[in-house]
């Protein structure tokens, strides 16, 4: 899901990129997933979310993370989940972060955006909101995000827009079923004064199960590329599509895999991964609960040290587009079973097609799965969940008697 506004800027001088490749003192773009709990069960969920994990960070632990981010001068954090707003301390944490020099951009499906909350958010200058929508029509969206999710998102957009929220984004994961709706997405965003943000479908989490059916075709990738070129910097991409630069011009952004260099993920239980698309033991750098905290993981983890070493382009280094494409997305390669130093599974030159066809179904499985055990999630106990009881109905054979009746066996009938 989230990467940063900060990465959605023109590419700086190449020399700076080399510094980025060697890693920075603190991340520029940090994603923090606050919970694995979610009211939805989107088919492509990167973090395979659904159920809360009992080990999730407490309010106090979250505040300690924010204190540390302030010390490390991480100016901005992208909060997601799961559905982060279902945490009962969510608004408290947002206020805590923004009053400690840590700006917040959070992604939500809109479930908790009441009119009252919308007004509160509109007043906080350090909060940006991304509403997720994966279809410009209910039919396309709900097939991916679940029944009712289109209406939920539109309701949240309306309430935020009514409250005068200006830092609003409409966040779309581009799939085979919605590439044809790019103009409609733009129209929806414009209607609510929101900025459109398009990102790439990754084969991570549950996304690995649907990637082969849902990732854009080569023709659609070209359509997307042309559309992005035509819309330039008015549309954000979180630097998602740098693999498309092999179609010609490079797109705005860093054009760099930032994993472990300028980007990382803190998951709900405090595990630190190289990037939000790589929730797998292979990319686990450490845990913020360990001695040294997040700063210790960022600076000293062996994994991050390896990712900051010069990478070889492998099979890609002879490609004329290597400078801008750089072999594409590490996580996409990993979860589709491709070698990390070869082409991206969606290589627009088609160099991955053969290798992809040769993968014999043995692809890495996500290390964790918090999916709902039923889909759609069943109603929670205590609310409307039916309780199955067998009631024995016996017809009274005598009128009820009071407890004061002298006979202790009054009313008892023995069959």
């Amino acid at each position: 899901m989230s990467t940063a506004t900060l990465l959605e800027r023109p590419a700086p001088a190449p020399r700076l990129i080399e510094h980025f490749e060697r890693g920075l003192n603190s991340p520029i773009c940090l994603t923090w997933e606050l919970t694995y709990a979610c009211n939805l069960s989107c088919v492509h969920c990167l973090s395979a979310s659904g159920r809360r994990d009992p080990r999730e960070l407490t309010t106090e632990e979250c505040k300690a993370v924010i204190d540390e981010l302030q010390r490390m001068q991480v100016f901005y954090v992208n909060i997601g989940g799961g559905e982060p707003t279902v945490r009962s301390d969510f608004w408290e944490l947002i206020d805590y972060a923004t009053s400690h020099d840590v700006g917040v951009k959070f992604s939500t499906n809109g479930v908790k955006i009441t009119s009252e909350i919308a007004e509160r958010l509109a007043r906080n200058d350090y909060v940006d909101i991304q509403i997720s929508l994966d279809g410009a029509t209910a039919e396309v969206n709900d097939a991916i995000r679940g029944p009712g999710s289109f209406d939920l998102a539109m309701r949240a957009l309306q309430r935020l827009s009514d409250a005068g929220m200006t830092r609003l984004k409409l966040s779309v994961v581009c799939t085979r079923t919605n590439i044809g709706q790019l103009d409609e997405f733009k129209a929806i965003a414009d209607r609510f004064g929101a900025q459109l943000r398009l990102t790439r479908l990754r084969p991570a989490g549950r996304g690995a199960d649907v990637w082969h059916e849902l990732h854009p075709t080569q023709d659609q990738q070209r359509e997307l590329y042309q559309w992005l070129l035509a819309h330039g910097e008015e549309v954000l991409t979180g630097d998602s599509f740098f693999h498309l630069s092999a179609l010609g011009e490079s797109l705005p952004g860093l054009n760099l895999c930032g994993a472990g260099r300028v980007v990382c993920l803190i998951d709900p239980i405090g595990d630190v991964y190289a990037c939000p698309f790589a929730i797998h033991d292979e990319f686990l750098a450490g845990n913020i609960r360990s001695e040294g905290g997040f700063d210790g993981v960022w600076r000293h983890s062996d994994l991050f040290a390896r990712l900051r070493e010069p990478q070889t382009g492998g099979a890609c280094s002879s490609c004329q587009f290597f400078d801008t494409c750089r072999g594409g997305c590490m996580a996409a390669k990993f979860f589709t079973g491709l070698p990390l130093d070869g082409p991206d599974p969606e290589c627009v030159r088609g160099f991955a097609d053969e290798a992809l066809a040769a993968v014999d179904g043995e692809r890495p499985k996500p290390s964790g799965d918090h999916s709902h055990r039923t889909s759609p999630p069943r109603p929670r106990a205590g609310k409307s969940r039916p309780v199955k009881l067998t009631l024995q109905l016996s017809k009274p054979t005598a009128p009820p008697v009071s407890a004061c009746n002298a006979n202790p066996l009054a009313g008892l009938s023995i069959d």
Partner: protein, 91 residues
């Protein structure tokens, strides 16, 4: 864009944070949400020497900026003023 002269008086905007990095520093403006890069330790030194009514010339001296580097540094300061990272005070 009016050029920065050695007599200009500049300070870092009150809502800007400076984060030192191996290449120089990252500047983040909490008001405009923009990020800028100071691409050399020398430029960082100059920016850190600004403030308290000091002129650009004084900051350049503090940072021991060689004469041939000064035009480039002045251009960088003008860019930072343009993006509101630096604020110019009336001389």
């Amino acid at each position: 864009m009016t050029p920065i002269t050695p007599e200009s008086v500049l300070r870092v905007h009150g809502r800007v944070s400076i984060r030192p990095e191996p290449f120089g520093a990252l500047l983040y403006h909490f008001g405009t949400r923009r990020l800028s890069f100071l691409k050399s330790p020398v430029l960082l030194h100059v920016v850190e020497s600004l403030g308290e009514g000091r002129t650009v010339a004084q900051a350049l001296d503090d940072a021991d900026v060689a004469p041939q580097q000064r035009p480039g540094v002045l251009r960088a300061l003008a860019t930072l003023r343009e993006s509101e990272m630096l604020v110019e005070e009336a001389a």
